[in-house]
């Protein structure tokens, strides 16, 4: 560039050291056409930004809150208590022989992560108008940031679950090896739901209005308060089209040894989650070029 050794560089008042040769890159800006790639490489290069977004969300959650961290623990615990009284005591829902509070908490921890992350991602993206219209950064960092922020809560929830297991004196067996697989399916399902919904919400803010209702329906279609074994066998395959059913059932198998929960229809859930994850990222990537204009 202009600064050659014979021409001494005058220090700017900002005193930023500047080495142009080391970072010379050429970019061609042109109209977008066709389907984009998944952009996961770009997202990975900006993983620090994902982390920064996650840290922002976690920090903000504890600013100017009296109970702060306690909400993450209180919410599943209180829901567990209500479910235990309503479904466990009064309605006597069968639980494959597992104490009802444990049974419910296991489902609630997975379910809470799914709902909170999807909702957070959907609302945050459309609320980031200034960022989307004024700053260039990988858009995937916003939903992935919400996901990582949600993982913090998930870990706390799982610790709560471990404490509950100890409280009830339930030990875990070799089945615990299935837990990482169940968690991977949970994350894939969450990505499959949150990315397309977030992108769609930029165009149609109806998505965030409809989301609480849709999630309510999904809660009934997932074995959170009741066991999947209550579903007639012939319907299990259709039931498994909601991957959260397999997530919760396999977590119950992994942590509570609930073998009855397993069903060969898990393959449907995995297929839906993996294809949904892939299609969801592609859809988001296709939509993101229009975010600045559509929001």
């Amino acid at each position: 560039m202009r600064s050659t050794p014979t021409e001494p560089i005058r220090r700017s008042t900002l005193a930023v050291d500047f080495e142009s040769e080391a970072t010379a890159t050429t970019t061609v800006i042109r109209p977008k056409s066709g389907w984009p790639d998944l952009g996961l490489g770009e997202a990975w290069r900006h993983r620090e930004l994902i982390w920064v977004f996650a840290a922002r969300d976690v920090r903000i959650r504890y600013k100017q809150r009296a109970v702060g961290m306690g909400w993450v623990v209180l919410q599943p615990l209180l829901t567990m208590a209500i479910f235990s009284v309503l479904f466990g005591r009064l309605m006597k829902v069968p639980t494959d022989g597992i104490p009802y509070p444990l049974f419910a908490l296991c489902g609630l921890v997975c379910w809470t992560f799914f709902v909170h992350t999807t909702t957070k991602s959907t609302i945050t993206l459309a609320a980031s108008r200034d960022l989307l219209t004024k700053v260039r950064f990988p858009r995937l960092a916003i939903p992935f940031g919400a996901l990582v922020g949600g993982l913090v809560d998930l870990v706390i929830g799982l610790l709560l679950l471990v404490a509950a297991l100890a409280w009830f004196g339930t030990g875990v067996g070799w089945q615990i090896l299935a837990a990482p697989l169940a968690l991977m399916l949970l994350i894939a399902t969450t990505i499959a739901a949150s990315l397309p919904l977030s992108a769609l919400n930029v165009r149609f803010r109806d998505v965030e209005n409809a989301l609480p209702f849709v999630m309510q329906v999904m809660l009934f279609l997932s074995p959170v308060a009741y066991p999947a074994t209550m579903i007639p066998d012939a319907w299990r395959w259709l039931y498994a089209a909601n991957p959260m059913s397999t997530v919760i059932s396999s977590m119950r198998f992994a942590l509570l040894g609930d073998e009855a929960a397993l069903h060969p229809s898990w393959i449907v859930s995995v297929a839906v989650a993996v294809i949904g994850c892939w299609a969801g990222i592609l859809f988001f990537r296709r939509e993101e070029e229009n975010f600045a204009d559509a929001i």
């Binding site: 220090r11 900002l14 109209p31 920090r59 989307l132 700053v135 204009d293």
Partner: protein, 276 residues
């Protein structure tokens, strides 16, 4: 990369938007209003899914070209002022160069990293402290956390808010927040800086400091594309200018001459009065 290659080569950049025709609700009768509301999802879907910025698409909808045909070269170390009335297409041009929105037609070849200062406080969150916001905003603008840590002291010093750096930004005056936001963005390490109307922060003293900072960036061999309605500032900073009118370049040359043309345009007789 040859040193004589321009850092930006813009060729026929154009951008089309679909004009949103919101119904004039207050001037309609109730039955019209109900029809509008129930017809809304259909029309919204039709409008939203017609890709607005692809060539040959969006037929039938009312469209307009925010940019029609912009071509220019920016050489390394050059400070280019972009002038024009409100709505002439200046900001759209910067958004295309910053890759915030794609062009409908045309290309731009960019050699080097682009740092955009379009709205410096966009990444700020008022609940976080000044220090936390420096790291957040810096990361969004494209700096690594390490780079920010290295520059933190200079960023704080430049913004003149050392005492308040661990106070939540919501307790700042708007001037303090703007100074900090500007300071973060000004420490971006990019070969090409796009600057849109962000020097108008703080008091006269700080504005002079911003101007000096921009001059420092220009002197360090970096290139700047600068949009401002503050014509005096623009004249002092830039060594070349382009005048944009209705999405096209009307004149390209020394800032002094172009500013005369522009000031002439802004006289009440020929102006719509919307420009400063």
């Amino acid at each position: 990369m040859r040193s004589e290659d321009p850092v930006i080569e813009a060729r026929g950049l154009a951008k089309r938007y679909v004009r949103d025709r919101g119904p004039a609700v207050d001037s309609m009768g109730l039955h019209h209003l109900i029809g509008e509301i129930f017809g809304m999802p259909l029309r919204a879907a039709r409008r939203a899914w017609s890709p607005t910025n692809r060539e040959g698409a969006g037929d039938g909808a009312e469209t307009f070209w925010a940019l029609e045909d912009i071509s220019f070269d920016l050489r390394a170390g050059e400070t280019l002022g972009v002038i024009g009335k409100n709505g002439a297409g200046k900001s759209v041009l910067l958004k295309i160069l910053a890759r915030i929105t794609p062009p409908t037609r045309g290309t731009a070849t960019v050699r080097g990293r682009i740092g955009a200062m379009l709205e410096v406080s966009a990444g700020f969150h008022y609940e976080l402290t000044g220090r936390e916001n420096v790291f957040l905003s810096g990361a969004i603008l494209g700096m690594s956390q390490r780079e920010i840590a290295v520059r933190l002291d200079r960023i704080i010093e430049f913004a003149e808010i050392a005492d308040a750096i661990d106070t939540p930004v919501k307790r700042y005056s708007s001037g303090m927040a703007a100074r900090l936001a500007f300071s973060v963005a000004a420490h971006l390490d990019a070969e090409i800086m796009l600057v849109d109307e962000v020097l108008a922060v703080g008091d006269a003293g700080f504005r002079q400091k911003c101007l000096d900072a921009m001059r420092g960036i220009a002197r360090s061999g970096r290139s700047i594309v600068f949009v401002s309605h503050e014509l005096d500032m623009l004249e002092r900073l830039c060594d070349r200018a382009i005048l944009i009118d209705h999405g096209r370049i009307r004149a390209d040359g020394p800032p002094g001459e172009l500013l005369d043309i522009h000031r002439n345009d802004l006289r009440p007789a020929s102006s719509d009065g919307s420009s400063r």
